[in-house]
């Protein structure tokens, strides 16, 4: 199961194709890899398809928008091929369309990889494995965790501040101008409170005997084992296979250079 893979290694595993994909400008590579990632996600996790689709589908629209823009503004080195049609001063070429679709597919690959990570990973454990396996100093690890704790309370904090304003007689803002004004009125206190929290949390941590020493026991003992490497190999290996395949089939395009 993906959810039991060591989170830090999982991150590295998805970072590698996540970065390398950026170099390909053909359609075949990202498409095949996207199919692989989605299939892998559903085969090895309990994520419900409905939830996944709900999260994924908005990005399809974003990707289409992105593709459209690229199609219109492709540079000459990429915009080879036949001219499909022209309007205003734009000239849409097959090369341009290819690059556009490639970029869209690539960004969907990113989303699929991120979703696979986010939906199967507990963020506390992620930080803990960064500390335990990747030797991030505990001071930084727990400092970040303490800050990260603020995230779910962020909404709560905002609610509280809004309630405070309401009981003091300031109603909900109406209109754009009111909203902007309200944003200003909230932003600074919200951040000021966050800073206060930072200070107090740090005091609280030290008062509980936190020293920042690496010598500590671990409640959640993280480790990297065979299963974790198997995951790593599948994700990275599959990417290599896709690259080789697209090279063999003559699709591979790196920076506009066809191989």
């Amino acid at each position: 199961m993906i959810s039991s893979v060591n989170p830090a290694l999982k991150m590295v595993a998805i970072l590698i194709p996540g970065v390398l994909l950026s170099f390909s400008f053909d359609i075949f590579t990202p498409l095949i890899y996207l199919i692989f990632v989605v299939a892998f996600t559903f085969m090895f996790s309990k994520i419900s398809i409905k939830k996944w689709l709900l999260l994924f589908s908005p990005f399809v629209f974003l990707a289409i928008g992105f593709a459209w823009m690229t199609v219109l503004y492709t540079s000459d080195s990429f915009a080879g091929g036949r001219v499909l049609f022209e309007f205003w001063w734009f000239e849409v070429t097959t090369g341009g369309v290819m690059v556009g679709i490639s970029l869209a597919l690539r960004s969907l690959c990113f989303v699929a990889l991120s979703l696979m990570f986010i939906l199967t990973t507990d963020s506390t454990k992620f930080m803990l494995s960064l500390m335990q396996q990747f030797k991030l100093p505990p001071k930084l690890t727990y400092g970040i965790l303490a800050g990260y704790r603020f995230l779910p309370t962020f909404k709560h904090e905002f609610e509280v501040l809004r309630q405070a304003h309401r009981i003091r007689g300031i109603g909900r803002a109406k209109g754009l101008k009111g909203r902007i004004h309200q944003f200003r009125r909230y932003a600074i206190p919200l951040m000021a409170n966050a800073i206060r929290k930072a200070e107090r949390v740090a005091i609280a941590m030290e008062s509980k005997g936190f020293t920042g020493e690496t010598d500590r026991t671990h409640y959640h003992q993280m480790s990297i084992g065979r299963k974790d490497w198997a995951f790593f190999t599948s994700i990275v290996g599959a990417f290599c296979l896709v690259i080789i395949a697209s090279y063999q089939l003559g699709y591979l395009n790196i920076f506009g250079v066809q191989f």
Partner: protein
């Protein structure tokens, strides 16, 4: 390298990272809207460039408030990672972009040996982050596929945006915060107190 850092500074830096991760994500969608708005005018590539500076702001704020080696780099890296964790469409490579942007800001502070935090330096840091991020974007988000004229134009816009939205706005926000007195325990707050004591 975390030796000279106090725990409360680390927590503050990471809280900045978290807060701005949320803001960054909001700006991502705002930028999307801006681009769709600009597309009919043929200005779509500038949609993001105009607001690009906002994505460096946490570096500037963290460095300006805490004034320690690494503040600019780590805060940006944290913001990037948190964005991925809360589901940014830009995906995991955002972490790397964040690291590179943070590095861009950090080199400017390093060049001043973490002694000068004037507006000028802050704006320089914003601009440097812009240049670094552009260089990375060249590979990563397919900027290389744009026409040369457009490349020069977008780079210019991004650098200006970095100077204003990161440097200038970052300083403004930090100063506003210092005014509320919550930064007493940090370098910027102490500077404010000294100034106040002198003028009093």
């Amino acid at each position: 390298m975390m030796r000279q850092w106090k725990l409360k500074e680390i927590v503050l830096m990471s809280i900045f990272g978290v807060v701005f991760a949320v803001i960054y994500l909001m700006f991502y969608f705002f930028g999307q809207g801006l681009r769709n708005f600009l597309t009919p005018f043929g200005l779509a590539p500038f949609g993001y460039e105009v607001i690009f500076g906002i994505w460096f702001i946490v570096s500037i704020i963290a460095a300006y408030v805490i004034r320690k080696r690494g503040a600019a780099f780590w805060s940006e890296l944290i913001a990037g990672t948190v964005q991925v964790l809360i589901g940014s469409p830009a995906g995991p490579q955002l972490i790397i972009s964040a690291a590179i942007q943070g590095l861009g800001a950090e080199v400017v502070f390093l060049a001043t040996r973490y002694r000068n935090f004037s507006l000028y330096v802050l704006m320089m840091a914003g601009m440097s982050a812009a240049v670094f991020s552009y260089a990375w974007g060249w590979f990563q988000s397919g900027l290389a596929a744009l026409t040369p004229g457009l490349i020069i134009a977008t780079l210019t816009v991004r650098v200006i945006s970095g100077a204003l939205l990161a440097g200038l706005l970052g300083k403004y926000i930090s100063d506003q915060l210092a005014q509320t007195g919550v930064l007493r325990g940090y370098a910027l707050g102490k500077e404010w107190e000294e100034k106040r004591d002198k003028s009093a």
